[in-house]
């Protein structure tokens, strides 16, 4: 099922958003999701649907523990963060996505969140 993506304009650091724009094509050919980010503004018009959005939802969980990143990490606005959390929980309970870790197929996805791990 094709989902509509409306990309809203961006302000702020052009270099960063340029890099973000280049890197954000997901490996899954069905869903083309480009998330724009500008400082703390996250304009993102898309309905978070059910089972087909697994690569999108896996971008917002930790690869080590599988916990969903908070708002200060993802930079999403209130509504979308809530939608993503609810969708992730739903998909995990239904048995499509693992809970304690990130599905290894999606480990190489471009990073959307602000998280920094100690090396």
């Amino acid at each position: 099922m094709a989902t509509l993506v409306a990309i809203c304009g961006d302000l702020g650091r052009k270099k960063l958003t340029h890099f973000v724009k280049a890197a954000l094509c997901l490996p899954d050919p069905g869903t083309h999701v480009v998330l724009w980010r500008s400082r703390s503004q996250y304009k993102y018009t898309k309905q978070v649907a059910g089972n087909e959005d697994l690569p999108l939802l896996s971008q917002f969980i930790s690869p080590f523990t599988g916990c969903i990143y908070g708002r200060h990490v993802t930079g999403l606005c209130g509504k979308k963060q809530k939608e993503i959390t609810n969708a992730t929980k739903r998909v995990q309970i239904m048995g499509f996505m693992p809970v304690t870790y990130k599905d290894p197929a999606y480990l190489k996805d471009p990073k959307v969140c602000n998280i920094k791990y100690r090396e």
Partner: protein, 115 residues
Amino acid sequence: MKTKKQPETAAALKRTVEALMDRGAIVRNLENLGDRTLPYKISSHSQRHSRGGYFLVDFYAPATAVESIMEHLSRDIDVIRPNVVKHPLTQEVKECEGIVPVPLEEKLYSTKKRK
């Protein structure tokens, strides 16, 4: 969406669809999402499952029928995890304006009237 196991899936599917239709549901579409290892081992009906087949049934049904459908599916041994979800395409897509910048200076002092 349900997850099933065992080679008698055709019979189980038929049973399920018939049960759905008995409760007044009009089945639009039945998709097979493939057989795969479950993301985590699921125990149901005193059995531990690690592989399952995923099936997606599109149907129209009155809202009152959901409870009886779920009850029936939970009794079926072949169904590992029954789920009924609203169809995502029927929900309205609202425009999200992003994070609206709030003027924090106004929020610094409370504007309540103090005696």
